[in-house]
Amino acid sequence: MKIYNGDKIIPGILIGVIILTFPLWLARGKAAATPDIKFDTPVIQKLAVKQCVLPKETMRTSHMVVLNDWRDAAVRNNTRVFTGMDGKKYDINLQNTCMECHSNKTHFCDQCHNYLGVNPYCWKCHIEPKETK
């Protein structure tokens, strides 16, 4: 097999392969750290029933939809009560409802958001909870 213009084609192939396999070089076979979410805040520990406003699976995949709906409800429609899964009523409030239990932003919100490169714009308006330690 005779290759013509190999001086240009072979480096071209190499550059292409290296660029396309970039994630492999970055990982170099090392297992990646997975997010470590903690539910051990003082408020959660005091709860009798450790249950969020909606089932865990729903919150895991769709919490951003809930937050968006809450934002629209509170800011645009002045609706400030949310009826949760068991008919329990919650105050529509990020800082005082969500963050009351999940006061550990760096060990809760940030864990998955950083893992997936998500930059939520919650904290451009809301005040981040003060975390001890």
């Binding site: 290759i3 084609i9 192939i13 292409g16 994630p23 895991r60 893992y115």
Partner: protein, 330 residues
């Protein structure tokens, strides 16, 4: 014909992945084996095809490209469309690869009253393909957030720009809109222009439909049905680090999406999609038109045994003198 065949092929692939995961528990196959196999096929296939192309010598410059070639000093030459220097060629290749310059020259033949033939600028194909390729690139680069840890800055930056308008949550990506719009246009164009429909084959419809379905499944997962992205990243990072894992609770749609992407990669080396590496090897674009400056020798010229006049005379000199014929050397 081509449409039905391609539609059935894509639907079959969707159903195979869906049923395989839903009823047979083949998460391992669709989540790990298929992507690895597809990647292996993609890289070996593409390299094999490119090396096969490289077996063909392309010694001669093609001067009949648009633009005046370099000639006499008082004739203005077109340095980008018909370059005679290396820098000019790099410029022409950059225009071709980054801005699809030859597609920009696309014209449409029209019969006007008279009858009179007119060639009209037709820029929609160029615009749609530019939109399609760039939105696909953005989508592709954005997906690096599932394949890198930590996520590189440019992926984050791109994501910020892509979700600039902060529509809804999860934020709407502009590239998703552009992608679906462009693919839809390219498909509709193919079926409503009679001449284009006539020359369209399953090999044209299948990649379009496959890519559309990949986009659609991705969009549905992100905006409608939702998936557990943490588990998905664990799976994709498992692939990247060669420690494959199948976390629990990933929906079937994800496996459909990944299987279709695997099919796209596996299909790549055997299809028209090879225009991606192929554009770099376009003989009308990647060679300077310096035929009047440099002598290009045909590489497949074999040595021809020649018998020059001097040798002929050496051979027959005595007989020539004897016969009274004039000779150059006595």
């Amino acid at each position: 014909m081509g449409i039905n065949f391609s539609l059935m092929a894509v639907l079959t692939l969707v159903l195979v992945a869906f049923a395989g995961v839903k009823f047979m528990g083949l998460q391992m196959f669709f989540g790990v084996v298929a992507p690895y196999a597809a990647m292996a096929l993609f890289f070996t296939g593409v390299i094999w095809r490119v090396l096969k192309w490289a077996e063909s010598p392309v010694p001669f410059r093609i001067p009949t490209t648009a633009g005046q070639q370099k000639s006499l000093p008082w004739i203005k030459s077109n340095g980008l469309d018909n370059p005679s220097t290396k820098a000019g060629v790099i410029g022409r290749m950059a225009l071709e690869i980054l801005l699809f310059r030859s597609l920009f020259r696309n014209t449409k033949l029209e019969y006007r009253e008279g009858p009179r033939i007119a060639y009209e600028w037709e820029k929609w194909l160029w615009l749609a393909s530019l939109l399609f390729h760039y939105s696909f690139l953005v989508v592709f680069v954005r997906h690096l957030r599932f394949f890198t840890e930590p996520i590189p800055f440019f992926v984050q930056g791109l994501e910020t720009v892509d979700s600039l308008f902060q529509v809804g949550l999860p934020t709407l990506y502009l590239s998703d809109l552009a992608f679906i719009a462009a693919v839809t246009y390219l498909f509709i164009r193919r079926i409503i222009i009679p001449q284009v429909k006539y020359i369209s084959l399953p090999a044209d419809y299948f990649p379009l439909m496959l890519i559309f379905t990949i986009g659609a499944t991705g969009i549905i997962m992100r905006y409608v049905t939702k998936v557990d992205v943490i588990s998905i990243k664990q799976l994709t990072m498992g692939l990247v680090t060669f420690h494959p894992v199948i976390p629990q609770g990933i929906g079937e749609l994800f496996f459909v999406h990944v299987f279709l992407v695997s099919i796209l990669f596996a299909y790549f080396p055997f299809s028209k999609l090879m225009h991606a590496p192929g554009v770099f090897l376009s003989p009308t674009r990647n060679m300077p038109n310096d035929s009047r400056i440099v002598r290009h020798v045909n590489p497949w010229n074999y040595p021809v045994p020649v018998h020059t006049y001097a040798e002929y005379e050496d051979h027959f000199r005595d007989k020539m003198i004897e016969a009274g014929l004039p000779v150059e050397k006595e």
